[in-house]
């Protein structure tokens, strides 16, 4: 615990340094302090996960009237591990990245506080402490969105959406938690957990629904996701990496902590609801990721997709536990947690790489990129591995976790109750569908962004980013490889975390080793062996290839249908790449396209120019949220009439009140 407090302390000192030091030393000093803090936290989290010990810290000196409570337990430690790992990368990245607005006092301070709260939220163990860290996390991320491009319309709009939805979510969480506190004597999570079974079932369900709404919105679950594809792209890259990898995971953490740990499971429909949210999110996110042309927006939608899969895992775990299959439930929970950790790493790496691309080219629009593999080879490699991981290429981390998830779902088929069965079925379908769609999205990302010819001058003139940024990206690639190749090493850690999450210690259904073996299911994967096979074959083919034919290739022009000149504009763009799929799913995506044809003045049969524009907005935003906002604004305009300046009216308010009091009270 002391080490953990020290880690928090380093981040806090980093924040103070960022707020007070001069511009020149601010970034390196605060970033290195926070990096040390994060690395310490990685160590502490690993230690807790390995030993399985919990420890608690309470002080009445902080947080008036309630005191600050922190508890380190394996479940929280897993999330701390994820956020501190990415946090360290983000801080190192900052050294090279921070320029202009990002190096400003506010931005750096907020980044440090953001890292601090990401470490503290999973450790906070009372209602007040939790809400304090939670809101501080919201505030710091909100301000981070605003700092980088405070003058762009998108950033401001994104910040507003984010702020409002996160506030509504926090309100919902707060009421839910307070409903749970109302009968217990204390407000620490231990008290809540001890007393929650004495609450009436309807109160528990109501509290869970409220809490779920709030956390689901943080986790980007559809239909509460609207803020996410707006906010994540607009934040500076270290912040968006943290938001997309760690902050969204806090939503999952909250659902597990409250639903499974504090409320002890509850009824099956809770978890069916969680899983349904997951199914919808996974599909919606994957679909939008395939059609997005903004690099970071694509990544943000893919976050919604992956978090959807995580929610499916969590929901399945809850539903299976309710069906009396704790061991399978445990499996699903472990899968969800492994996916959280894996996602944190690869999505963090991708966002950092997106920041590198933006830094090098000045744009995030895939339609203006291309050919970056020649100029930014390191970044390209990071993107390739991380994208491979998210596409679940075997022997990378995404694959291990998705395999585990599928095992959990399949296992449930054998003897789960009907609601659980429906969850499993939908989960499997969602897993299958998103697999294909994610592949499209990330082939597009890498293929359009990094291969081919540069589509703009800026993309052609890109240069590789500074060393610190590359180190940070490389750091985040490590988990993708390690979890992918030797997932078995993490099973005992996950087992402890999942036990806390399920509120019971269950013997891990997974055998130890470097691979994953679920003997009950006769299912196993040995990624290390697969990797040896793959690399062996690859090497063999390479050797054969080199021996059989001439060694060096002659460079020739690509075939241009008989034309000599091949311009970059002739290439497929991200928009055109996704067009067939967009057409297939037009009913869901509702794309809007305009074609504007300018004819030559002499004849209508010849065109001077054709302009084609294609937009894929968020249907849920347009149909679900806009009407509410418009209505609220109408109410606001109408309400102005209440205060129309007439003193007679003002006096009449009071007169009526007086008469009402006289009639009612006396």
């Amino acid at each position: 615990m002391n080490l953990f407090l020290a880690a928090l302390g380093f981040c806090a000192v980093g924040a103070v340094c960022a707020a007070t030091l001069t511009r020149r030393v601010r970034v390196p000093v605060s970033a290195s302090l926070a990096t040390i803090g994060c690395l310490l936290a990685v160590g502490v989290a690993l230690q807790v996960l390995i030993t399985g010990d919990s420890s608690t810290f309470h002080t009445a000196q902080l947080l008036p009237m309630t005191g600050l409570s922190l508890t380190l337990d394996p479940l929280g430690a897993l999330f701390i591990l994820a956020s501190s790992f990415v946090g360290a990368a983000a801080c190192v990245y900052c050294v090279g990245y921070a320029r202009g607005a990002m190096a400003s006092r506010t931005a750096m301070t907020m980044l440090m506080i953001f890292v601090l709260t990401l470490l503290a939220v999973p450790a906070a163990s009372s209602v007040m402490s939790f809400m304090f860290c939670w809101e501080l996390m919201a505030l710091s991320s909100l301000l981070l969105i605003l700092t980088d491009q405070s003058h762009s319309r998108e950033a401001r709009g994104a910040a507003l959406w984010y702020g409002v939805l996160t506030q509504l979510g926090a309100a919902s969480i707060l009421i839910g938690l307070l409903l749970m506190t109302s009968t217990s004597s204390g407000q620490t999570f231990a008290d809540l957990s001890a007393h929650s079974l004495s609450l009436s079932p309807s109160t528990r369900s109501f509290a869970f629904v409220l809490v779920l709404l709030g956390f689901a919105s943080k986790a980007g679950a559809v239909p509460f996701h609207v803020w996410l594809p707006k906010a994540h792209p607009e934040a500076p890259s270290p912040a968006s990496a943290l938001m997309s990898s760690s902050m969204v995971a806090m939503g999952v953490y909250g659902i597990i902590r409250v639903g499974a740990d504090l409320l002890h499971g509850g009824t099956v429909w809770w978890w069916v609801a969680v899983a349904l949210l997951g199914v919808v999110s996974a599909l919606y996110g994957a679909l939008h990721a395939t059609t997005s042309t903004d690099l970071k927006r694509l990544l943000a939608y893919s976050t919604i997709d992956i978090l959807g899969l995580v929610l499916i895992g969590v929901g399945a775990a809850g539903a299976l536990n309710d069906s009396g299959l704790p061991s399978v439930a445990h499996l699903a929970m472990m899968a969800a947690l492994l996916l959280v950790v894996a996602h944190a790493a690869f999505k963090g790496a991708l966002f950092l790489a997106a920041g590198a691309v933006e830094r090098a080219t000045g744009t995030r629009n895939l339609d203006e990129l291309g050919g970056l593999i020649h100029t930014m080879p390191s970044t390209a490699l990071v993107v390739a591995i991380s994208a491979g991981s998210i596409m679940a290429v075997p022997t990378l981390s995404g694959f291990s976790s998705e395999w585990l998830l599928l095992q959990g779902l399949l296992h449930g088929f054998t003897d789960a109750s009907t609601p659980a069965l429906i969850v499993m079925l939908l989960g499997v379908i969602a897993l299958a569908l998103t697999g294909g769609l994610t592949a499209v999205a990330f082939v597009k990302l890498f293929g359009i962004g990094f291969l081919g010819q540069p589509r703009s001058v800026d993309a052609a003139n890109a240069v590789e980013v500074p060393l610190s940024m590359r180190i940070a990206m490389a750091w985040l690639v490590i988990p993708s490889l390690v979890i992918g190749v030797v997932p078995g090493l993490f099973i005992s850690l996950l087992n402890r975390a999942a036990s806390t999450g399920m509120g019971a210690t269950v013997v891990s259904p997974i055998d130890h080793g470097t691979g994953l073996v679920v003997s009950q299911l006769r299912g196993a994967i040995q990624p290390a062996a697969l990797l040896v096979g793959l690399v062996g074959v690859l090497a063999l083919v390479w050797l054969v290839n080199q021996r059989l034919a001439q060694r060096h290739a002659r460079r020739v022009d690509a075939w241009g249908c008989g034309r000599d000149l091949q311009t970059p504009r002739m290439q497929y763009t991200a928009t055109s790449f996704a067009e067939p799929l967009q057409r297939v799913f037009a009913d869901v995506l509702r794309p809007q396209s305009d074609v504007e044809v300018t004819h030559v003045t002499e004849s209508r049969y010849y065109e001077q120019s054709i302009m084609y524009e294609n937009r894929v907005g968020d249907v849920l935003e347009a149909r679900g949220y806009r009407p509410i906002i418009t209505a609220a604004f109408r109410v606001g305009v109408f309400a102005r009439r209440l205060q129309n300046g007439s003193i007679h009216r003002y006096l009449a308010f009071g007169f009526v009140a007086l008469l009402v009091i006289l009639v009612v009270v006396a």
Binding site: A60, Q61, L62, L63, P64, M65, T66, G67, T106, V127, M128, M131, F132, E135, L136, A138, L139, L146, S150, H151, R156, A159, L160, G163, V164, Q167, L168, A171, S172, L174, I175, L178, L179, T181, S182, Q187, A632, F633, V635, G636, V637, A639, R640, L642, Q643, I647, R649, Y650, L651, F653, G654, V656, A657, L658, I661, L662, V665, A666
Partner: protein, 487 residues
């Protein structure tokens, strides 16, 4: 002795200001006087922890609650008076004020502060009423200080609405007195004193007390800015000079609320918790909802801040409705946090008004680019206002919510949180419009802020954040003060 000192210092300053014509050093003298009051107030807090203090033949009395309110008043008036020289200089430069009116201004400010101090230090509930009514008179001319159409209109409405409202409070006080006399059976010298009323509070006639409390809620609610008698508030706050708005919004409202807190204790003792709670919840929710809908499409910066005061008063009413010691402690912390935050906001809004020449929000944008320091202070104060941690409003709002849920008012908490979220959206939208965006005028270099302005405001914000993070300075005082108004 301490109590007399607290009252004597601003009185002496008043006499000093009345005695000589306006000089900038008088402005600084008022700041010194506020600092002295603050020091004595803190001392009073320490002494009252061990028991109530009396003065002037038992006509003045201080317990922890009064002492805490003295600190609140002194803190906010320190902030406001620190800006007096600056405001006067600016107004004289732009020809709004002459030395004569500057002198009036300083005198009235000190009278105003003295009245508020008297309101919290008097032992008699009748004198409480008298001094709160006296603040109306003192502030009228402060509201109309600018001598524009709007200022006169605002102060006219202010006097009419507040007088009628406070008259109802007087009727309520009379009814309490009537019930007290009936309960004790005789008149004595300390009748209508807080202690003697509380001594027989359990025996007060419920019918009379019920009516009396309802009238008091509407009456003092007028000064607090609670619906339905809130209408003066946006007008007066938007027209008064910035330091006056800061004082009015920061402490005048809450001094009136202090009165309500006292009477709530009487009413709960006589009636049980249900009736006072229902009434306070009704006005609290009504105020919140009104503030919410008025903030959505608000156009004027200072009116926006005024409606936000109504919102916070609604929250205080809800907190008082819960009425547990925890809730009252949170209410008190909220009073302090809101006072500081609102003072910072009004003072920086005054500077914005001076620099931009308007308070209509649509007419200026890109403040962060043009005046980073001022806009930064304003922005962080807005963050504090919407109750984000680490600022103390967060802790107090959360604790109030917790106490309200404990009291079974979870539905009220739900409504208030929805309102707060909408208000957050509205304030963020307005704030974004003002602070961000492209600069409407093409100022070459971002202008800086004078240290005399920046230091107090930043210190105040840091203090507000410290109050929200550290328990140490206030914890026991708040608990003690909350016990005072426990029936």
């Amino acid at each position: 002795m301490l109590i007399l000192g607290i009252l004597a210092i601003p009185l002496a300053t008043t006499l000093l200001a009345a005695g000589v014509s306006w000089r900038p050093w008088i402005g600084w003298a008022t700041a010194v006087s506020s600092t002295a009051v603050l020091g004595l107030g803190i001392w009073l807090c320490v002494t009252t922890l061990s028991g109530s203090q009396w003065a002037l033949n038992h006509s003045l009395r201080a317990d922890s609650l009064s002492a805490f309110m003295v600190v609140v008043i002194a803190t906010v008036s320190l902030l406001a008076t620190l800006f007096t020289p600056r405001t006067m200089r600016q107004e004289m430069e732009s020809g709004i004020t002459t030395a004569r009116y500057a002198r009036h201004y300083v005198i009235l400010m000190q009278v105003f502060i003295t009245c508020m101090l008297l309101a919290v230090l008097t032992a008699n509930l009748g004198v409480l009423w008298v001094s709160i009514e006296a603040t109306t008179i003192a502030t009228t001319f402060l509201v109309s200080h600018r001598r524009t159409d709007g200022a006169f209109e605002a102060s006219w409405k202010y006097v009419i609405l507040c007088s009628i409202g406070i008259a109802l409070a007087f009727l309520g006080t009379v009814l309490i007195y009537y019930a007290e006399l009936h309960a004790t059976g005789s008149v004595h010298s300390s009748s209508l004193d807080w202690t003697s009323v509380m001594a027989v509070a359990h025996h007060l006639d419920p019918n009379v007390t019920r009516l009396a409390f309802a009238l008091l809620v509407v009456g003092y609610g007028t000064k607090v800015g609670l619906v339905p008698m809130h209408s003066w508030l946006p007008d007066a706050h938007s027209q008064a000079p910035a330091p006056v708005s800061a004082l009015m919004s920061g402490v005048l409202l809450t001094v009136a609320f202090y009165g309500l807190l006292r009477f709530r204790a009487v009413a709960v003792a006589a009636l049980g918790p249900t009736f006072p709670r229902t009434l306070l919840v009704v006005v609290g929710i009504a105020s919140l909802v009104l503030a919410t809908v008025m903030l959505i499409a608000q156009r004027d910066l200072k009116r926006m801040l005024a409606y936000s005061s109504i919102e916070h008063m609604g929250l205080l009413a809800l907190g008082a409705a819960a009425g547990t010691p925890l809730a009252i402690a949170a209410v008190l912390l909220h009073i302090l946090g809101h006072g500081i935050t609102k003072a910072v906001l009004f003072l920086s809004a005054g500077e914005i008004y001076y620099l931009e020449g308007t308070t209509e929000m649509a007419k200026f944008s890109g403040l962060l680019a043009r005046r980073p320091a001022l806009a930064g202070i304003f922005g962080f104060a807005l963050v504090s206002l919407v109750a984000f941690p680490p600022f103390s409003l967060f802790v107090s709002e959360l604790t109030m919510a917790r106490a309200e849920v404990d009291a079974g008012l979870w539905w009220a908490v739900a409504i208030s949180l929805v309102c707060l979220s909408v208000i957050f959206a509205a304030l963020t939208r307005h704030g974004r419009q003002m602070l961000m965006g492209t600069a409407s005028t093409t100022d070459a270099a971002p202008s800086t802020l004078a240290p005399s302005m920046a230091i107090p405001l930043v210190t105040a914000l840091v203090a507000c954040a410290a109050l929200g993070v550290l328990s140490w300075p206030l914890q026991s005082l708040l608990a003690h003060a909350a016990q005072v108004v426990m029936p």
